[in-house]
């Protein structure tokens, strides 16, 4: 269970890094590294 818990949270973190954000104009703006 602990492994699943860690893995699911890690999956969310990876998703936030990887996901693009759609701008109001409908374009896809790639996330830039801070």
């Amino acid at each position: 269970m602990e492994f699943l818990a860690f893995a699911s949270f890690l999956a969310l973190v990876i998703a936030w890094i990887a996901l693009p954000v759609r701008t109001p104009a409908g374009e896809i703006e790639e996330q830039k590294a801070a």
Binding site: M1, L4, A5, S8, F9, W16, V21, R22, I28
Partner: protein
């Protein structure tokens, strides 16, 4: 056998939890209020506020005895405690051996209050005020009180069967969620679609709900100690994980991380952990939060397809979230957390999952049938829905002669 004695620590925590749960209902009003159009915000907030008033009186007069009074056939309490006769400041060992019986009664009152308030989100922006008042009293009496007795009352048939519901997954959330769907179906769709008029109000409401939920779940231990602490921690964890999950799923689906999505996800997480909060450990609460974030988001996508205008997604959040929570309790429960509970499927007891499914199914069926009857009766007597021009004007002005904002 030594007579039960009052523990001041337990009593303090229970009274504080009662106050925390009380705050949830006006908090719900803000949560819902931000999601409706500006011409209906006052009526929406008022619905929650007035449920607090209506059920506070209903509960002490006849609600408590129906839900927790001496058992009649496993389905309802008798009328021995009508008007709180015999409900004293001494402990009742059946419900709390270390706290005054009246403290337990007051704590349960706040659960009875918030449950019909949850349903108001389904018929927001079009229900007649009279219909709302009548619905609240009838629904509390004929749906909430019996189901509370089945699950929590001494001798209740689901309690006897062994169903686990620590703080109201079936009693509060499944019952209100499926009833909301029925109410929304029978009252019909809004004539015009309205957008959330104040997302910040909804965030505030969600924060108040989250805060109050510590009383809801950790208070359900009816004692201050290890179990209440565990319930507190898993409650917070599941809410956080569900908020993050819902936000992420909406981001994948719609391209942006939604602020409202995060708050709705948090509430969904709180719903799902409710039945499980006294029976599961922290890793399980993360999985429960993850699951509900996905399931509730998917359920919300069904609304346009179902053609049922459950205005504020009560069915998705509470019906589906509560159902998942009740089932998850049957999956993840462990006696390592609560020796008075049971193990779930993943701890070697598949029978518990079957019992949880029976509890969920019984709640769905009973709530759907009785709510449909109540709504039909109200429609045929006082009328369920405002007239077209009143709906266009908004419920604040048409039902109450007031408006939320002057500018």
């Amino acid at each position: 056998m030594t007579p039960p004695t009052i523990n001041t620590g337990d009593t303090s925590w229970l009274l504080m939890s009662t106050a925390l749960v009380m705050l949830m209902t006006p908090g719900l009003g803000f949560f819902y209020g931000g999601l409706v159009g500006r011409k209906n915000v006052l009526s929406t907030i008022l619905h929650s506020f007035l449920v607090l008033c209506l059920i506070s009186v209903q509960w002490v007069l006849w609600g408590y005895t129906l839900a927790f009074g001496p058992d009649v056939g496993g389905v309802i309490g008798n009328l021995d405690w009508l008007g709180l006769r015999g409900v004293t400041t001494q402990p009742n060992p059946d419900y709390g051996a270390t706290v005054p019986h009246q403290a337990f009664m007051a704590f349960q009152m706040m659960f009875a209050v918030i449950t019909p308030a949850l349903i108001t989100g389904a018929f927001a922006e079009r229900v007649r005020f009279k219909a709302f008042v009548l619905f609240t009293l009838l629904w509390a009496t004929f749906v909430y009180d019996p189901i509370a007795h089945w699950v929590w009352g001494t001798g209740g048939w689901l309690r006897t069967l062994g169903a686990l519901d620590f703080a109201g997954g079936t009693v509060v959330h499944v019952s209100s969620g499926v009833s909301a769907l029925v109410a929304a179906l029978l009252i019909g769709r809004r004539r015009t679609h309205s957008e959330p008029h104040d997302a910040t109000m909804t965030v505030l409401g969600a924060a108040l709900l989250w805060f109050g939920w510590f009383g809801f779940n950790a208070g359900s231990a009816i004692a201050a100690g290890e179990l209440s602490t565990s319930a507190f921690v898993v409650t917070n964890t599941a809410a956080a994980m569900a908020a993050l999950t819902f936000m992420t799923v909406s981001w994948i689906h719609r391209g942006q991380p939604s602020a409202l999505g995060a708050t709705i996800g948090a509430v969904a997480g709180l719903v799902a952990i409710t039945p499980a909060s006294g029976f599961v450990d922290v890793p399980a609460s993360i999985i429960i939060g993850l699951g509900v974030g996905i399931f509730v988001y998917l359920a919300m996508q069904l609304r346009p397809r179902l053609k049922i205008d459950d205005a504020l997604d009560v069915w998705a959040c509470h019906g589906i979230g509560g159902t998942w929570g009740a089932i998850a309790t049957g999956l993840f429960a462990t006696t390592a957390i609560n020796a008075a509970g049971q193990n779930g499927l993943f701890n070697g007891n598949p029978g518990q999952l079957a019992i949880q499914l029976i509890a969920v199914a019984a709640t769905w069926v009973y709530a759907i049938v009785v709510t449909a009857v109540i709504v039909k009766v109200i429609d045929l007597t006082v009328g369920l829905r405002v007239r077209e021009h009143e709906e266009a004007l908004g419920l604040d002005a048409s039902q109450h002669g007031e408006v939320a904002y002057q500018h």
